[in-house]
């Protein structure tokens, strides 16, 4: 029983981590229908920036926002030079190929610069463990949970109540209509892309102390992110959070009770299963086949 509770607790915390990743993806993929296959690479980038700064003795809590900013800048540069030039939307395979290649290039660059071995990333919460109701929760994981909840709720509020946020939602619903209402659609797309990518970078910085930084760390993140976004229903942030929770639980349970070495495949099996059985997700619309 204890093992089950512990596993569930792990799952919930894992889910929090996934939530940060997937909200970024939801914004870009679910809302704007841009397939960003480089999302995992930006995640890794965030982790490595953290690694660099911590080796320069920058405190963890200071390094985190800086890492997010750096990733955002790289994302912005990417978006203006590359993504924007390959056709947006309408299921065009341009952005798929480009972001896929971009992601591969970034990971290869990280491999060449840092080598394939994992680099540990230190964090003030790294050594501590919290005990809640007799369950052990690693300090870093608790931190991730707290940050996730804060960032996600803040983001949700911003999206709904701020002008920019509402514009993003408008573009998501009806790009043409938004354009005719005077919304600067390309700018909104940029903003969304940058936000999505920055979220990936944040997730990288948060998770690095746990999983250590290694170049292909983004791969499973990407899979999980897409699974969650689809599971939650495209374009639904609350759906993405619910989906993250479920994914976290599923992963934790699978790892504990089934097998560790097959766990990487679990994510992919779930993506496939979700896409086939449940295309509208938990909260979304069955519009998949249009894209």
């Amino acid at each position: 029983m204890d093992l089950l509770l512990q596993t569930l607790a792990n799952g919930i915390v894992l889910g929090a981590g996934y939530a940060v990743i997937s909200v970024g993806l939801t914004l870009v993929f679910g809302i704007l229908h841009i397939a960003n296959f480089a999302h995992g690479a930006f995640f890794a980038l965030g982790a490595y920036v953290m690694f660099l700064m911590i080796s320069l003795h920058v405190p963890y809590l200071v390094a985190l926002p800086v890492a997010v900013a750096v990733v955002a800048i790289v994302g912005f540069a990417t978006e203006t030079t590359i993504v924007r030039r390959s056709l947006y939307g309408e299921g065009h395979h341009g952005s798929i190929i480009v972001t896929f290649a971009l992601g591969q290039a970034m990971v290869a660059a990280l491999l060449l610069i840092f080598g394939p071995d994992p680099h540990p990333v230190g964090s003030p919460f790294g050594q501590s463990t919290l005990s809640i109701f007799g369950l052990m929760i690693a300090g870093q994981r608790a931190f991730i949970f707290v940050i996730s909840v804060l960032v996600l709720s803040g983001f949700g509020v911003w999206l709904r109540y701020s002008t920019k946020g509402q514009q993003i939602l408008a573009v998501a619903q009806n790009p043409r209509g938004a354009l005719y209402s005077g919304i600067n659609v390309p700018m909104i797309r940029s903003v969304s892309f940058v936000l999505g990518v920055a979220a990936a970078g944040l997730a990288g910085g948060l998770l690095a102390p746990i999983v250590t930084a290694y170049p292909t760390m983004g791969h499973s993140t990407l899979i999980t992110g897409f699974t969650v976004v689809i599971l939650g229903g495209m374009g639904s942030i609350s759906g993405a959070m619910l989906g993250s929770l479920l994914m976290g639980l599923a992963n934790a349970l699978f790892e504990t009770y089934v097998s560790v070495s097959w766990t990487p495949a679990l994510g992919w099996v779930l993506v496939i299963a979700v896409l086939l059985l449940w295309p509208q997700g938990l909260r979304g619309r069955a519009e998949l086949y249009r894209h």
Binding site: G233, Q280, R283, G284, R285, A286, E287
Partner: protein, 269 residues
């Protein structure tokens, strides 16, 4: 035989066969209700219009009638067959053709190839037959050539045969879209905002084209352009907020109070 709007009302009472019938169609997307109990009957041989303000659900209704979108509940019958759950391409093969508002043609193909694509689902020959020019192949292509000539003549595209669809002028592309639809010899033609973006002259030409091909066919048109509806349609259905409001001859429809208020402020012409 040339159909004027006046003929349509006698047509409606005389016809015993309907071409298209929708019964209590509901369509929901997640939390949004696009269609809320729409029923309509289109009689064989009439030109039927569907109008309504933006976002009223007429495009959704249209998609449901053509079989591209599946209704959440309700029934759609076309030419006597229940097509509610039928796959879109099978609906097409049972005698229905449609044009699209955006991306109306096969952009990277020539006019001639566009017509070929419109026809090839009725080809019977196989790959082997193609390589060795079997009788089946020759039949198919003979029939295709004859039909293509006829369609090109009717739509006035004969000289543009070898031109790339994407370089055609907008109005010409729309005519090509109709030509492609005609290649499968449909009994029912669905036209999705065919006059959108056309200037006055192009619209007049288009109206003339539709009048020319209307005999022997049933045509359903979704449109914003009221001139088109008034000139072509015998009856029109107004859809507002997913609900049907009134079905009548266009002149009567425009006098309807709810229709007027729904359109207040909207600039239609």
């Amino acid at each position: 035989m040339h159909k004027t709007p006046a003929d349509a009302s006698t047509q409606a009472t005389a016809a015993t066969e309907f071409a298209v019938r929708a019964s209590d169609i509901h369509k929901r997307y997640g939390g949004v209700t696009a269609l809320d109990g729409v029923s309509l009957t289109v009689n064989a041989g009439e030109i039927f219009g569907i109008i309504g303000p933006n976002g009223a659900g007429k495009s959704t209704l249209f998609d449901v009638l053509c079989g591209i979108t599946k209704a959440t509940s309700g029934k759609v019958e076309v030419l006597g067959q229940d097509v509610t759950r039928m796959s879109p391409h099978l609906v097409a093969r049972s005698g229905v053709a449609r044009t699209f508002q955006r991306t109306a043609v096969f952009g990277e193909a020539t006019v001639f190839d566009n017509l070929l694509y419109g026809r090839h689902s009725s080809f019977r020959h196989s790959v082997i037959g193609r390589i060795f020019r079997s009788p089946a192949y020759r039949n198919d292509h003979g029939a295709f050539e004859a039909k293509a000539r006829e369609v090109l003549a009717v739509t006035g595209l004969g000289e543009d045969r070898g031109r790339l669809a994407s370089v055609l002028a907008y109005g010409v592309q729309r005519r090509l879209a109709v030509a492609v639809a005609l290649m499968s010899e449909p009994k029912i033609l669905f036209l999705d905002e065919p006059a959108a973006g056309m200037n006055g002259r192009e619209t007049d030409d288009f109206i003339a084209l539709i009048r020319l091909i209307a005999p022997g066919r049933t045509i359903v048109i979704v449109e914003h352009d009221m001139a088109v509806i008034k000139s072509l349609c015998g009856r029109a259905l107004v859809v507002v907020d997913g609900r049907p409001v009134v079905v009548d001859a266009p002149d009567q429809v425009f006098k309807h109070a709810e229709v007027i208020s729904a359109y207040l402020g909207a600039d239609d012409d």
